[in-house]
């Protein structure tokens, strides 16, 4: 592990101005992504700015009914918060399906949004990887890509965004609040993560010097909600395919529906095509499966991950079925 300078900050403007002055800096919150990658020599910050003392640890309901979550709220706290459990159960389930208890206790909301891909080639500095070192090539394209994406890929990168929490947030609908040297701005959660395209090294819409201060969840959508995560073993593994579903019914018909996917796409994925296919239709297994098919119309399979198309569809159909059952209950 390389040595780095560590500095603690007490106020948000301090954190933000620090970043403006220096290059090669990184924030550290829970450290569960950052320190891993520093040890592997994948991230090489010269200076690490500890943001854990910033006053970003609250969860509060705004006047308009939205829920504002501080970037330092831990994954455990967020998953167990009574408002989240009541109004955003899909998010709570998503969080609790991730990592392990110990990691969730350390992991922060902002850090989770910013976690890096688990592509093994990305995590090994000896291997070519366009995301880590632009222009070196993508080892996964011809290599083993069993864990890689089938949606949103490019010829330069096919890595998945690994987060469960973000999938729950995309389904629930959310806004990120960013604080930078030039002030505060808001970005729709869905627009924050970027597709790899020609520049897989650009992963998100965070400008140099900016800090995520909050995530604001849309007003509760009600309905029945469910997060389903499919993987080889029963716990402690990133999703091979996951689905966050929110279904509202009008009689036997689906009046509103949100579908988001994890494990199959290069970013937390909103499956709008699935939503459109199902909205206004009777809530039947056949229609759930049709919606699932629609979500993967543009999917591209690589040498080892074709099974993810089937698995992803299964995740959608089952999550919709179970969310619908909850909507009826």
């Amino acid at each position: 592990m390389r040595a780095f300078e560590l500095e603690s900050v007490e106020a948000i403007d301090q954190a933000v101005s620090h970043r403006r002055v220096h290059d090669g800096e990184a924030f550290i919150a829970g450290g569960t992504t950052l320190l891993d990658l520093v040890k592997l020599d994948v991230m090489q910050p010269e200076k690490v700015v500890d943001v854990t003392r910033l006053p970003l640890k609250r969860i509060e309901t705004l006047e308009d009914g939205r829920l504002k979550i501080g970037a330092l709220v831990s994954n455990t706290e967020l998953a167990k918060h009574e408002i989240v459990l009541r109004d955003y159960p899909v998010l709570s389930e998503a969080l609790l399906s991730g990592a392990s208890t110990g990691l969730r206790n350390m992991a922060s909301t902002g850090g989770n949004v910013m976690q890096r891909t688990r592509c093994p080639y990305f995590r090994d500095p000896d291997m070519p990887c366009n995301k880590r070192e632009p222009g070196t090539g993508c080892s996964a394209l011809d290599g083993i890509n069993r864990n890689h994406a089938v949606l949103g890929t490019s010829e330069h990168c096919i890595a998945t965004h690994p987060s469960d929490m973000c999938v729950g947030m995309v389904a629930a609908g959310a806004t990120l609040v960013l604080e930078g040297p030039d002030g505060q701005r808001e970005v729709a959660f869905e627009d924050y993560h970027l597709l790899p395209g020609d520049h897989p090294e650009r992963e998100h819409d965070l400008k140099p010097g900016e800090l995520i201060t909050h995530v604001i969840l849309d007003t509760p959508r009600g309905g029945g909600q469910h997060y389903l995560k499919l993987r080889d073993r029963a716990s402690y593994e990133f999703a091979l395919a996951s689905c966050a579903a929110i279904v509202s019914l009008d009689g036997d018909n689906v009046s509103e529906v949100r579908v988001a996917l994890g494990g199959v796409a290069t970013k937390p994925w909103r499956a709008t095509a699935a939503e459109e296919a199902l909205k206004g239709q009777p809530a039947t297994q056949e229609n759930f499966e049709r919606a699932a098919d629609a979500a993967f119309t543009d999917a591209v399979a690589y040498s080892h991950n074709g099974y993810k198309i089937t698995l992803g569809k299964q995740a959608i159909a089952r999550a919709l079925r179970d969310a619908t059952a909850r909507a009826r209950a």
């Binding site: 011809d142 290599g143 083993i144 069993r146 389903l228 073993r233 029963a234 716990s235 698995l311 299964q314």
Partner: protein, 744 residues
């Protein structure tokens, strides 16, 4: 020193005892190798090859040497001249990788050591290791996937090993004329040991004496090998391994990191500690080799086996040959009409040498045979358990020797009834529960019962405590505990008063902790040493002026820490005090004898598995495992059951998850614990283990045959058979991953 084959008596010892070292382990008091810190210590960190095959052309070291804290970097051009160990199992100096570190500039595999950086701290050493640049001449000729060589029919690939081939009767003709025939291929993917305690060496030289603290399943083997490699007498090498956080075979025979560390310590004149990373462990300390197998069964219409052919093929390495002989045990499993033929082949792959991994060979071979038996049952429309019963081998088919003790039939029946096998519907997919389809499967379990030569020391101390010492190890299985239990029961002195010393090559020579033979090997030596020490006590007591002066020693017994003769008794502590002695001890050894030519020794068991398959989301889970095993006498049923349970967990790994993957460039894709999928707690089904209790006194005076490995055998086959019962899909390649289930 006396030698006792242990058959003169039959001890009746068995008790449920928690591990005596449990508290030490829970409180951090157990000194594992990497816990050792010596004054003036330094830290080694290996640099490893990032190519799969070729030559190391040069190393660029300047930047690394200039890094903070770096003391030196060892590599091919500046390494000491050493000799290879003769690598003899019989002479107890076998190593896992005969090639010495940095011996030449050939690169045989990714992860091969190309340098060792030594610095004042671990972080400094690791940071500098990342700065070493290596220039290679890459070779495009390499192999990491033996499956790619298999044509899918006929002979398996690789070089036949004549020593592995064996046959009885005329299997070819019997197969030809059989009315029911089956011919299938099976495979098991490479599995990593994934030991909890990382491999570690801490080496120190004092004058010309080497002491090395190592996580080792064989301190005597490592001592002997180091003595040959450094060309110094064995007395000048001490290997210490007080506690081991599992080895599963990967710590039986020394690996090169220990040699590098010892050389660095000698050159720097300071102790050096090297702890391998998980990735280094995965790439440079062995694995269960990928195996390809072909099984042919011939039977008549009633299900009577007429022939068994079992051909195996496993990976070996240019850096060290390893033969897993997966088919070796097959002819002993069933009465096959006296016709069996087995072979094994090796294919050299560009990986480090494979090595034994829990139930080596047999766990892999058993999977193929027990799956084939299930396929035969399906073909015959016969119950898989009934098929096995019909072919029970009443004696060892390979030698016609009687079994020393064999209660397999009871294992089958006991496990079947506890499992509820009679409720099984043989039609695939017929048992449903909501979204899930239920499948039942079973397999026979088996492992050879071995015993080796062993010495031990047994002492009575003036403070009333006992000293028992043996140069074997406790790899977490409970050897400390059963030795203490035995000493306590032999003397009537409480277990808390027993001081057991293991894991030190200076102690009387003990066996490897492997092959499930520690119990059967060590306890007879302990009792022989006890006899020796007791006879010395008796001599004191009967000597002139002694408490039982002139009494016949045979009339003296030991009870609750006293010597008793008729209605007279004396505390042993008193006896020692009277003679102004601090310790009375005896050393003795024990070894197997003529019984080895009279009986065949083997343990058997039965395992039944329930799987649940949710086809709507392609989710397979093991829901329940029931196993009944006959291991003779369990000296400590609590730790013994725990061994079987652990074996079952590993079997679930083999059947469902574990698979080291290498890409088209030979890159080890899942070289870490996050990407190499092992079962976790949430994958644990309900596991119910029952051990029968039929002491096998033909094997040794304690009646114990050992239990470390048998629990793993059969599990993968039972899972795959249950998957067939649930899905109608026959998966012959382990592990049963989601994509295999989807494409079958």
């Amino acid at each position: 020193m006396t030698t006792d084959t242990g058959k003169t008596r039959e001890y009746n010892l068995s008790a449920e005892k928690p591990r005596i070292d449990g508290t030490l382990k829970l409180t951090g008091g157990a000194d594992y190798a990497a816990d050792r810190n010596l004054p003036n210590q330094t830290y080694g960190y290996p640099v490893t090859s990032t190519i799969t095959s070729g030559k190391l052309v040069s190393l660029e070291l300047d930047e690394a040497l200039a890094m903070p804290g770096v003391l030196d970097i060892f590599h091919h051009d500046n390494f000491d001249q050493l000799s290879r160990s003769p690598n003899s199992f019989a002479d107890e100096n076998l190593t896992s990788e005969p090639r010495l570190p940095f011996e030449d500039n050939e690169i045989h595999y990714q992860g091969q050591y190309i340098a060792l950086v030594v610095a004042d701290t671990l972080n400094h050493a690791r940071a500098a290791a990342m700065k070493v640049k290596a220039n290679y001449e890459r070779s495009d000729e390499f192999l990491t996937d033996i499956k790619a060589l298999d044509r899918g029919e006929g002979e398996l690939p690789g070089e036949e090993q004549p020593g592995d081939a064996s046959s009885i009767g005329d299997a070819d003709s019997a197969f030809e004329s059989a009315s029911v025939k089956l011919d299938h291929r099976y495979s098991i993917a490479q599995e990593n040991h994934s030991v909890m305690e990382m491999h570690a060496s801490v080496a120190q030289w004092e004058n010309d004496m080497l002491t090395i603290y190592e996580s080792s399943q064989g301190v005597v083997f490592q001592r002997n090998a180091l003595s040959k490699i450094f060309g110094i007498p064995p007395e000048k090498v001490t290997v210490i391994s007080h506690f081991i956080g599992s080895g599963f075979g990967s710590k039986l025979f020394m690996w090169p990191h220990a040699i590098m560390t010892a050389v660095a310590a000698r050159r720097l004149g300071r102790p050096v500690k090297t702890v391998l990373s998980r990735t280094q462990e995965y790439l440079a300390t062995g694995y269960r080799p990928t195996s390809l197998q072909r099984v042919r069964l011939g039977a008549d219409d009633s299900g009577k086996l007429l022939s068994i052919h079992h051909d195996g093929c496993n990976e070996s390495s240019p850096a060290g040959k390893h033969d897993d002989t997966v088919s070796g045990a097959t002819p002993k499993m069933y009465d096959c009409g006296g016709n069996a033929a087995v072979t094994n082949r090796l294919v050299t792959v560009n990986k480090c040498p494979p090595c034994p991994m829990r139930a080596p060979g047999e766990a892999s071979g058993n999977f193929a045979l027990e799956t084939a038996m299930d396929e035969l049952a399906v073909k015959l429309e016969m119950d898989p358990l009934a098929l096995r019963k019909k072919n029970f081998a009443a004696a060892d088919p390979t030698s016609d020797l009687p079994w020393s003790s064999n209660h397999l039939k009871e294992c089958w029946d006991d496990a079947a009834s506890r499992f509820g096998w009679d409720k099984r519907n043989p039609t695939p997919g017929a048992m449903q529960d909501g979204d899930e389809i239920i499948g039942y499967g079973m397999a026979t379990q088996s492992w050879e019962a071995m015993r080796q030569h062993c010495s031990a020391r047994f002492g009575f101390r003036a403070d009333g405590s006992l000293l028992v010492a043996c140069g074997t190890q406790d790899i977490g299985t409970g050897t400390y505990t059963i030795v203490a239990q035995t000493a306590s029961e032999l003397t009537g002195i409480p277990i808390e008063m027993v001081d057991v010393r293991l894991g030190d090559s200076q102690l009387p020579s003990g066996p490897l902790s492997g092959g499930s033979m520690a119990t059967s090997t060590v306890l007879p030596a302990v009792s022989a040493a006890f006899d020796e020490a007791l006879s010395q006590l008796k001599s004191l007591a009967t000597a002139e002026g002694g408490v039982f002066e002139n009494a016949d020693p045979d009339t003296i017994e030991i009870q609750s820490g006293k010597l008793v003769q008729g209605d007279r008794s004396v505390e042993i502590t008193q006896l020692l005090a009277d003679n102004q002695l601090g310790l009375i001890d005896g050393e003795a050894s024990a070894q197997p004898g003529d019984e080895q030519n009279q009986y065949s020794f083997r343990s058997f068991g039965a395992v039944f598995v329930e799987v649940r398959w949710d086809p709507g989301i392609s989710r397979l889970r093991v829901a329940r495992v029931v196993s009944t095993i006959d291991i003779g006498r369990a000296i400590n049923p609590m730790t013994a059951r725990n061994q079987v349970e652990g074996g079952i967990v590993m079997g679930i790994g083999m059947g469902m998850f574990e698979q080291a993957e290498f890409d088209q460039n030979g890159y080890p894709y899942n070289n870490n614990l996050a990407d190499y999928i092992l079962p976790v707690n949430a994958d644990m089904p309900k596991v119910e283990v029952d051990l029968l209790d039929y002491p096998d006194y033909r094997h040794n005076a304690f009646g114990a045959r050992g239990v470390g490995e048998i629990g793993l055998t059969g599990v993968a086959a039972a899972i795959s058979n249950a998957v067939y019962n649930a899905t109608g899909k026959r998966i012959r390649d382990m592990p049963i991953s989601i994509e295999k289930l989807l494409s079958a």
